[in-house]
Symmetry: C2
C-alpha cells in the first residue's frame, strides 16, 4: 500500500512498478489529463494514455513491459519508456533534471539534448541554430522516441550542474562546522522490535510505542495519524520487525510521521530555502555533517505579477492566492530538482526543510490570505508558524518532510530578517548594532542582546534592478563597479563574471551615482547638468541619460543607459532607507554616534562600495570600521535553523523580542524622508567626510 500521488489522503495498492508511484482507484479510472498534472511529469507511461502498462496492483508484482530504452550520457543512466514518449518524459522518468521552464510546450528552447545514437522524430523549431541542428541537438520536449536511443546532456548543462555542486562546495567550505550540534526537526529512530507471540500479543502500535519508550521517547506524548496506522501492520513485518520511525516534535506532543521497513543506515537530506521577492535560493544539505551538496538560485516566477510585495498581494486578491503559491512553488521545486540532480540524490531522502522569507512571500507560498498585510493596521495572519509537512505545501521532498518556517514579527518585517539576525548574531552581543537588509524592501533592526527594535521602509525594488531601465540582479554580465574619468566622462566598468555588460546591479548603481555626482554630471538634487557637451550625456525623449556602454559593446547590441528617472527612483530608495535609520534611531532616543556596528545584508552580490554608498547618502557617514557587508543573510540563517534545534528556538526568541515600529503613518519618517531626497542629504553636517564634486549648490 502507498499514498496516491494525487490524493495524499488515500491509500492504494496500485503502483507503477517502474517508478514506484501509487495511484488510487478513482485516478486509475479517470482519463482526464488535468488530474494527472503531478503524475504526468513523473510517469510517461501514464501520460501516453496506456494505463495498463506498468500499472499493477502491488500484490501482482509483474514488472512493466516497456518499449524502448533511452540512455543518458555521460553518466549512462538508462530508462525504459513506451513508444512515442518524448525525450523530456524519458528524462523525467529517469529523474534526470532537464531545464524545461515552459513545461514542455516547446517555447523556451532550454531542454536541449544531443542525440548520439538511434533516431527520434523531432518537430521543427526556430529555437535551435543550424549549427546546433547539425551537431544533433534536439529539444527534448519536441522529440518522440520510436526505438532505442542514446542522448548526450550538453556541455553547458553539465557545466551548470557542476557549478551548482561547486557552489555547494564553496558554501560548505565557508559554513561547515558553523553548527556543531546537529539536531534536525525530524528525528529518525531505528528500532528492532521483539516479534509478537501468544504470550506477548499487544497491538502493533503498542509494540512500536514500547520500542520508542525504550529508545527514550516520551510515548505518553506521542500522537499518530491514520495513515501510519493503516500501513503499520505491513510495515513492521516487511523487514522482520526492523523499522525506522520518523518522529516530529510539535508543541509538547510528538507525532509519528512515518514508519518504514528496515533500520539500517540511510542518507538524510535537508533543504534551506530563502524565498525572496525577486530571487529564490536553495541549499541542499547533508544532515549528517552539514555539508552543502548543492546550492542554486533563480528568479521567483511571481515576478510576472509585479516587482514588489504590494503588487503580488494585489495579484493574489485578483487571481487567488493559489496562483501566486504555484508560481513560487514552481521556482522552488525547479531549484530543488536542479540541486538533487547535481548532487545525484533522490527527493525521498529530504526529510527536513527550513523556509525563510518575508511575510508576504511566506503567506503566499502557504496559501494564506495576504490581503490584510497591505491594509491598515497591517496584520499578518501568522507570525510563528507551526511545523508543517512538505506535502501540505507541495514541496518537492519526502511528503512527510518536516517544514520549519522562520517566524516573522510583522507584515513588513518577516522571517528573512529574523534569519538574518540569527546569522549575524548581534542579538547575542553587547554592541548596539544597526542592521539593514536591502532587498526588494528595506528592513532595519536596531539593538543588542538586551533589546531589538525593527521597522520597514518602502525602499522599493530599485537596488535589485526593479523600475530601473537597465537594472538587473547581481548576475553574470551585471555592471557591479563603475568609475568615471572626470575629464572624458568615459566610464570604467566591471561586470559580474567578467562577462559583456547586460545591465547594472545595485552595487553598480551606487558606484555610478557617486561618480555622476563627483564628476558633476548630476547635482545634489539629482538634476542632470545640461551644459555638458559629451556623447555620454544624451537626451532620450524627454529626459537626460548617461550612456554606460554603447550598443556595439553589449550582448544586446543596444546602448546601456542610466536615465534621470532611474536616478530619481534610486534617490527615493536611498532616501527611504536613510530616513528609516534616522527615524528608528530617534524612536530609540539615539543617533548614529551611539551605533557601535552597522551590518548591511541584501542582494548586492559579492561587492558593495561602502565609501560610495556613504557619498550618495545611502549609508551614514560614520567610522568605516563599523561597517560589515554580509551578503544574503536569510539563507545562512535558514541553514543554521535547519541543522540546530537551538537556532530554531533562537529564531523564535528573536521574533518575539522584536518591537516593531510602524513608519506608515509616522510624520517624523515623512520629514526624514523628504530631507534625505538629496545627494547625500539636505543636512550636509550629517556627512562631514563627504567631499562632493557636485558643482551646484542646493537650489
Amino acid at each position: 500500500m502507498g499514498t496516491c500521488i494525487n490524493h495524499p489522503d488515500r491509500e492504494t495498492p496500485y503502483i507503477c512498478m517502474k517508478h514506484q508511484i501509487y495511484l488510487c482507484e478513482d485516478c486509475l479510472e479517470c482519463r482526464d489529463p488535468k488530474i494527472y498534472c503531478k503524475h504526468r511529469s513523473a510517469c510517461p507511461i501514464w501520460f501516453m494514455g496506456k494505463r495498463k502498462e506498468g500499472w499493477e496492483a502491488e500484490d501482482r508484482q509483474e514488472a512493466a513491459a516497456a518499449a524502448h530504452t533511452v540512455r543518458f550520457l555521460p553518466d549512462g543512466q538508462t530508462v525504459s519508456v513506451p513508444d512515442e514518449s518524448t525525450l523530456l518524459e524519458a528524462a523525467q522518468a529517469a529523474e534526470i533534471h532537464v531545464n524545461a521552464s515552459c513545461s514542455g510546450k516547446g517555447s523556451c528552447g532550454k531542454c536541449k539534448l544531443v542525440v548520439v545514437a538511434g533516431e527520434v522524430e523531432t518537430a521543427p523549431t526556430p529555437l535551435l541554430t543550424d549549427g546546433e541542428k547539425a551537431k544533433g541537438y534536439v529539444l527534448a520536449c519536441q522529440s518522440r522516441i520510436f526505438g532505442n536511443v542514446s542522448v548526450q546532456i550538453p556541455e553547458e548543462a553539465l557545466e551548470r550542474k557542476l557549478k551548482i555542486a561547486g557552489m555547494g562546495q564553496a558554501i560548505t567550505d565557508r559554513l561547515k562546522g558553523w553548527v556543531t550540534d546537529i539536531d534536525p526537526l525530524l528525528q529518525e529512530i531505528p528500532l528492532t522490535l521483539a516479534p509478537p507471540t501468544l504470550d506477548d500479543s499487544v497491538s502493533d502500535l503498542d509494540r512500536l510505542n514500547r520500542g520508542l519508550k525504550k529508545h527514550g521517547c516520551d510515548v505518553a506524548r506521542l500522537n499518530v495519524g491514520i495513515k501510519v496506522m493503516r500501513q503499520l501492520a505491513d510495515v513492521v513485518r516487511r523487514d522482520n520487525w526492523k523499522i525506522t520511525v520518523s518522529v516530529i516534535r510539535r508543541k509538547c506532543a510528538n507525532e509519528i510521521l512515518e514508519v518504514r521497513p528496515g533500520n539500517g543506515q540511510h542518507q538524510s537530506l535537508g533543504l534551506a530555502i530563502d524565498v525572496g521577492t525577486t530571487t529564490i535560493v536553495v541549499y541542499l544539505v547533508d544532515m549528517a555533517d552539514g555539508s552543502v551538496l548543492a546550492a542554486t538560485a533563480g528568479h521567483n516566477r511571481q515576478a510576472d505579477c509585479g516587482d514588489d510585495v504590494i503588487n503580488r498581494i494585489v495579484c493574489a486578491e485578483k487571481d487567488g492566492v493559489k496562483k501566486l503559491s504555484r508560481m513560487a512553488l514552481a521556482t522552488i521545486n525547479d531549484l530543488i530538482g536542479e540541486a538533487l540532480d547535481s548532487a545525484g540524490v533522490k527527493k525521498e531522502a529530504i526529510r527536513n526543510v527550513v523556509v525563510s522569507g518575508n511575510t508576504t512571500m511566506v503567506h503566499l507560498l502557504l496559501q494564506i490570505e495576504p490581503r490584510y498585510l497591505r491594509r491598515d493596521p497591517y496584520i499578518p495572519t501568522v507570525s510563528d508558524f507551526p511545523i508543517l509537512k512538505a506535502v501540505e505545501i507541495g514541496l518537492k521532498a519526502n511528503p512527510m518532510a518536516a517544514v520549519f518556517v522562520m517566524p516573522g514579527p510583522a507584515s513588513y518585517v518577516g522571517g528573512d530578517i529574523v534569519s538574518g539576525v540569527l546569522y549575524t548574531g548581534f542579538h547575542r552581543e553587547d554592541p548596539v548594532t544597526l542592521f539593514i537588509d536591502i532587498g526588494t524592501n528595506g528592513e532595519i533592526v536596531l539593538g543588542n542582546r538586551e533589546w531589538l527594535m525593527t521597522a520597514a521602509c518602502s525602499a522599493g525594488p530599485a537596488f535589485e534592478g526593479g523600475g530601473i531601465r537597465w537594472g538587473m540582479r547581481a548576475e553574470e554580465g551585471a555592471i557591479e563597479k563603475v568609475t568615471i574619468d572626470p575629464q572624458t566622462l568615459v566610464p570604467d566598468l566591471s561586470m559580474v563574471g567578467d562577462a559583456p555588460p547586460r545591465g547594472i546591479c545595485g552595487s553598480g548603481m551606487i558606484d555610478l551615482i557617486a561618480e555622476l555626482l563627483k564628476t558633476g554630471i548630476v547635482d545634489r538634487s539629482g538634476q542632470f547638468a545640461e551644459g555638458l557637451d559629451n556623447e555620454r550625456i544624451r537626451k532620450l525623449g524627454d529626459e537626460w541619460a548617461y550612456v554606460l556602454t554603447f550598443g556595439e559593446r553589449t550582448s544586446m547590441e543596444e546602448d546601456i543607459v542610466f536615465t534621470a528617472s532611474d536616478l530619481k527612483n534610486l534617490i527615493y530608495s536611498k532616501g527611504a532607507v536613510y530616513a528609516g535609520f534616522t527615524t528608528l534611531l530617534g524612536h530609540a532616543g539615539m543617533d548614529f554616534s551611539m551605533v557601535d556596528r552597522m551590518i548591511i545584508t541584501g542582494g548586492f552580490g559579492q561587492y558593495l562600495n561602502i565609501e560610495k554608498a556613504i557619498s550618495i547618502g545611502l549609508l551614514p557617514d560614520i567610522d568605516r570600521s563599523k561597517f560589515a557587508y554580509m551578503g544574503n543573510s536569510s539563507i545562512v540563517g535558514a541553514y543554521m535553523a535547519l541543522l540546530s534545534a537551538e537556532y530554531r528556538q533562537e529564531a523564535r526568541t528573536i521574533c518575539e523580542s522584536m518591537t516593531y515600529v510602524d513608519f506608515s503613518s509616522n510624520p517624523r519618517y515623512m520629514d526624514e524622508f523628504t530631507s534625505a531626497l538629496f545627494l547625500p542629504h539636505t543636512d550636509l553636517n550629517a556627512f562631514p567626510s563627504v567631499t562632493t564634486a557636485a558643482s551646484s549648490a542646493i537650489q
Copy 2:
C-alpha cells in the same frame, strides 16, 4: 475558501451557491463521473453535467440559476434543481432522506414518492403495484423533472421517520441524566477578540491565542493546521472578530480544528455508533443535554462478504480493506442520514462521534490492514486509537468532527466489550462478575474493581441467526418465544412486534431447544427422536426437522422449520460459550460458586429466558437472582463516552486493565468445549436444578 469535497487537502474558492459545497479547480475541470461519487449524491446540478450552473467562485456571489422547483410534503421544503434532475437528486439536494439502498439504480424499489402536483417523466418499473401507480406513486430515482412539481413523502416513510425519532425519545427516557457532567471531546469556545490597531498589531493567530489564553486554554500546548491558518484572516473578520473555535485535546497537546465566524448559540450534535458484525446502531444525540434525538439500526452491508469476522477478513484480503470499509460506511452514513432527517437537523452540527465495535469491525472501518487479526499470534494493529476526524474516516458529519474510537484489548475482544463493561459498570464494584456478550461472537469478561480477565470463544453467528436456515435478528416477525404442547407437539409462538412469523431469533431458538428437549423431540445429544408420528416432525432431504409454522400462516408462504443441522450449530455455539465460562474461571482458579453476578448482553432483543438458557446449558445453573440481561450494551457505553471525558478515560483504563486469555491453542478449552456439546452438558452434576424431559441417556 473551503475544502474541496473530493480532496480534503485542497483549498478552493469554488462553491456551489446552493449547497455550499466546494470543488477544487481540477475537479471542476474533470468530467469523469467516478470522481464525483461523493459530490454527485449531494449536488444534482453537477450530476446533470451542467457545471457552470450553480458553481461559482466564491467572490462572485451570484446565486445559481436553476430551472424547476420541487416541493416536498408534508413539511413543504422546496429546492430548485435543473431540468431533467431526478426526484431522488432533488431530495438529496434538499437534504431529505429518501431510502435508496440501491443508490438510485432503480432496483430496490424503496425510494417511493407520491406526485401530487406537476408532472414527472418516470421509467416503467415492476416494483410498484398497479394500485400504487394509480395513487401517483413513483420511484424517485426513476423520475425526471421537466417543470415544477410537488411530491408527498408516503405515510410508511413518515411512520419510519416518526419511529426513529420515537425510538430516540424512548432511549432518552431511559438514559437521560445517566451522564450529568457533559464534557465533549471537541470543545467549542466562543470568543470576542479585540480588533487589531497599529499599536496592537500582533498576527491573527497570536490574537486568537491570546483570546484562548484568556478563556483558560493552555496556548503553549496548542497546535494548528495549515487549513485553519489559510482561512483564519477571513474568518476572524467576517463577524467583526466574533468567532467560535473548535479545540480538541490529543495527548498533552491541543489542536485548533476549526475557527468559524460568529460566537452565538448553536446546536451541537453527537453520534454514538455501534458497529456490529451483523447490525449497526446509531444514536443521534443533542450534546447540550444528552437527549437522543433519533435512534436507528440496520444490517451491516458487509454481510455480503460473509456472516462472521473471519469471512470479512478473508474478503478484505482478497478485495482490499477499502471495499469492506465502504460497505460499513454506506450502512453507517445511511443510518446517520435517516437519523438527521427524522430529527430535522443538519450533519454540519455533528461535531463529536464515538465509534464502538469489535476489533475487526473497527480495523475494517478505518481501513487498517486486518490480516494479522486472524493469524497466530492474533495481533491487532491498534488497540488504543488516537482521536480522528470524521473526514479521515468518511463519516457523514462535520468534516472536523472529533471521533473517539473505543479501545479494544485484543484481536477478538474489542471496543464493543470495553463499551459494554463501561455501561454495566461492574469494573467499579466489588462483586465478582461474569459478563458475556453473545453477538456474532462470544466475548467473556470476568472480574471486579480489582482485576479483569477476558477471552473470546468462537460461538459463531448462530444466536444472531447466521448459519440457521430460518435464523434472523430480533426484528419484526422474528419468533422470540416458543412453548410446545407436550401432547400435541404444537408450538405456541410469540413474534417481535406481534407480526406474522418471518423466522426465528436467538431468544426464540433458546426457547425452542429447551422445549424440544423437554418434550422429548430431541435427546440430550441433539438427535431427533425418530419414532414420533407427528406432522410437526418431518424429514427434509437427509435430515430431521421440526416445523414451527406451516406455510399458509407465514408471510412467505413457506414452512418455517428448525433442522437437525440448525440444532447442531446451536449446540456448538452454546457449548463454545459455556466452555468459555469454565475455562476462564479455571484460569482464574475459580468456579461458578464464586461468581456473584452474571451479566448477559447481546443481540437477543428485548427478551431472553434465563431459565431456558440454563436448561440447554448455555448459561450455568446458578442462583437465578444473580442474572441480569442488559441488551445492547455497546451502544450505551458509546453514548456515555460521547458525553463524558471521565467515561472516555475510564474506557481506556478498562482496556488497559484487561488480561486477555487466548483460547485458540488452549487444550483445556477444547476439553471443556467437547464436554459441553450435550444438552445441557455431559456433567449433569453441574446442572442440578435442570429437570430434563429428554428420555434418552448419553450415548
